[in-house]
Every structure is written in C-alpha cells, then in structure tokens.
C-alpha cells in the first residue's frame, strides 16, 4: 500500500530508498541496505538484539518503521569502529571475552554506547539494569558487565 520515498543518513552515508510503510527499520537495514550486523531475534522488542541508534538515542529497530526514520541519522554496529580501529567498547568486549556466539553483541554495544555517552561513569547497578533489556544466552552476563565497566572507568 502506498510506497514512500525516504531519505536518511545511515552510519554517515546518505541513503535514499523507496519502502513499503510496513517495512520495519530492522529489515530495511538488513535487507535493503545489506547491513546484517543488526541482528533480529524476537521481533517484538524483548531481546534487544536489533538495537541501533536513532539521532543518538538507542532504540529497538524492530519496533520502528523504516518510514519513521525519514530525515534522521541512524547508527548501526557497522558504524562503531573508525576504519580498522575498534570502538573502546568493542575492544573491551574482545579483552573481557564478553561474547561467545555474538548474536546479542551488536545490540548491547549500541545500547552501552548510548548509556556511556549519557552517564560517563555508570554504577554496576546501572549497567546491570540496562542489560536487563538484552538477552544473552552464552555469557551469563558477567563478562559483559566487566567490559562496559572497564570502558566506564577509563
């Protein structure tokens, strides 16, 4: 029904596409743009795997329509590293073994980046509370908490 043209910035690249209104932002990123770093788990906002940033705010991309991002700036996990230099969170995840299968990792990185920009020194309690919105079945969360705390304490 009624295709819409949208124009937005994704990881600092200008993108112009025609989409169906019902297309989810998560599917737009993965299927239309080929940015498969954003993972899709539950598709109803529970698992957190699809978390990206919309104009700086971490959001569930499965709970946004692509048309809603028209005119906005979206950042996905592909936009975190600067060239070959990993983002401090990515480096800390690597050092602390904060991932095993990696399915939940992109969403957690994007939410953690948002958290650290708002609150440079979050308490362990705040980090755990943020992580309650992200399902990880491998790590038991402890190394993830350690990795985020490591960046916060730098």
């Amino acid at each position: 029904m009624g295709l819409r043209e949208i124009e937005l910035r994704v990881n600092d690249r200008r993108v112009r596409e025609t989409v169906e209104p019902r297309l989810l932002l998560s599917d737009f990123l993965r299927h239309t743009l080929g940015l498969t770093g954003t993972h899709v788990g539950c598709e109803h906002g529970v698992c957190g795997a699809c978390t990206v940033r919309l104009d700086g705010d971490s959001v569930r991309s499965c709970l946004l329509l692509a048309v809603q991002a028209d005119g906005s700036a979206v950042e996905t996990v592909e936009g975190l590293a600067r060239g070959r230099e990993l983002h401090p969170l990515q480096r800390a995840f690597h050092e602390e073994h904060a991932l095993q299968c990696g399915f939940c990792t992109p969403g957690i990185l994007m939410a953690a980046a948002d958290l650290l920009e708002r609150d440079g020194t979050p308490s362990r309690e705040t980090i755990v509370d943020m992580l309650s919105g992200h399902l990880c079945r491998c790590t038991g969360y402890e190394p993830i908490v350690e990795a985020i705390a490591k960046v916060a304490n730098r």
Partner: protein
C-alpha cells in the same frame, strides 16, 4: 512476524491528525512511541487499515509546571519524563515508577501519553496517574475534554477515549513537598510485566498519617485505588500498615493466570501493600 499492510499517515499538525482520526475512527491506530503498538502489529494481533504516526506533530512534547499542576505532552518520552528535574521534584511517585517501565532502550522511544492511552493493566504510568489524581486531555474535531484518571481506565487495553479522539496531554497535580511515596512491584524478571504492583503516597503531620493513597496494578483488569486501605492509615502511624494490607488484599478479585494463581496474587497484594506503606513511611 511482519505487520500486515496498512496506509501510513504522518500528519504535521494536530488538526490534520484529528481530521484523519475523524475519517477513519476505529480503523485507525495512533502510533506514538510504538513500544506496544508495533509488537502487536508484528504479531498481527492488530491489523489497522491506517496507522497515524503522530511523532511529527508539533506541540505534543512539552513538559511544564502550570498552577500547581505538571502538564505533560503526549509525546514526552518516558526517559525524558523520568529524567526531568521538574518530575523528580514535583511528582516523586511518577519519577519512582519510571525505572520499572520497560527497559533503558524502550524508554528512549516509549511515550507517557502512549502508555496511558494503551491502558495495559501491568503498565506503571496509568497507575501513577491514577494515584496522583491526574487526568488526560483528549481532542477530536468535535472539541477537547479532560477525563479524570478515575474515569479513564475502563478495563484491559480499554479507555474512555472515543475512536476519533487523540490523547494530547496528561495533567498531574504536583505533590506537596512533604509527601512521602513508595513504588513496589514484583516481576519474574527485571523489566518484565509485574505480577503485582503497589503505589503509595502518604502525607504525615505530627507523626500521624494525615492523608494516604494506595493504588494497585496488574492484579485486576485496570489500575485501581483502594480507599478503604488508605483510610485505615489516617490518624495512625506505620503500625496500621498490616491492617491496610489485609483490607487491600480483601478488596481484590484477581483471576488465575499462567504465572500466578488468584490466591497468590491476593497474597502478593497484602505483602506489597505492607511493604509500600512501610517504605513510604520510612
């Protein structure tokens, strides 16, 4: 897990939004933060023919004090509401419930007005509005009206709004500076739907309760006040907490559900009301 097709309307003014709702009424769904609506679209529990995205309507994201009331635009995000100094200082009960609303990421997008219009019985903001004695301002092409919270929530996911009405603002009477509050709830996982939740406000004068309000969420089909429990605290001290808790537990008629029997929910009400009163008092 993809929405069924719908027509997408993105009004740029309130008048345009109301005109769309006047034409489509029941066939339309208003999209604000989308943290409840989009899951229902994805699961096809809802198949509206028109989705009215109000996110670009100007004038719906204000948060201001006005004559002893805090007026909160329907599009104010839950994170902004909870982080607002005005809310923390003047609406301590509402501020204390925000950390229980969804998760860090969903609060960035979820709105105060959307949660109240959605009227999920396990949502915190409807209960907070009720206990605070607030109201909702709704608009349609027929005009505006203000609905007190006590008349707003009818049953599960059902409010007194007509299909062509848009919630534009919620109005929250500011708490007296000495008001003590507590928000207590039990969920199986952090951020998950509560099995039961209790909100309590107390005004204490000369070591005794002068005024109390107790509200319950998640246990019956809408957020509800328990005036008999609140009354039991008046002119008493914290020693009256167990009595109020028993009265509250007696007042509810919960249903068995997948996670908790009716009996267990009634037990939870008793325990949580006592805990809330003690916490507010302390």
């Amino acid at each position: 897990m993809k929405p069924a097709p719908f027509a997408y309307e993105r009004p740029e003014t309130i008048e345009e939004a109301l005109a769309v709702l006047a034409v489509h009424g029941d066939e339309a769904k208003v999209l604000a933060g989308g943290q409840s609506l989009v899951p229902m679209l994805n699961m096809r529990l809802l198949r509206p023919s028109v989705v009215v995205d109000v996110n670009r309507v100007p004038g719906l994201d204000g948060l201001r004090a006005d004559n002893g009331e805090i007026r909160v635009g329907a599009l104010v995000r839950q994170a902004a509401f909870g982080g607002s100094r005005l809310v923390r200082e003047r609406l301590p009960l509402a501020a204390s419930c925000v950390p229980y609303v969804g998760h860090f990421v969903t609060r960035n997008r979820g709105t105060v007005g959307g949660s109240i219009a959605h009227a999920d019985v396990s949502a915190e903001l409807p209960l907070a509005l009720l206990v605070q004695g607030g109201s909702a301002v709704v608009a349609s092409t027929r005009g505006r009206r203000e609905i007190p919270a006590e008349e707003l929530f009818l049953t599960h996911f059902t409010t007194a709004l007509a299909p062509d009405e848009l919630l534009v603002e919620t109005v929250w009477p500011a708490s007296e500076p000495e008001t003590r509050t507590a928000w207590v709830e039990l969920a199986q996982r952090r951020g998950d739907y509560a099995l039961a939740m209790v909100a309590c406000t107390l005004r204490v004068e000369g070591g005794l309760v002068a005024e109390a309000r107790i509200g319950l969420g998640s246990v019956v089909d809408r957020p509800s006040l328990v005036p008999e429990a609140a009354e039991a605290l008046v002119r008493r001290g914290v020693d009256a907490a167990p009595e109020a808790a028993v009265l509250a537990a007696r007042s509810v008629e919960p249903y068995d559900n997948l996670h908790a029997s009716a009996r267990y929910q009634r037990h939870l009400v008793r325990v949580l009301v006592e805990r809330a009163v003690r916490q507010a008092w302390a």
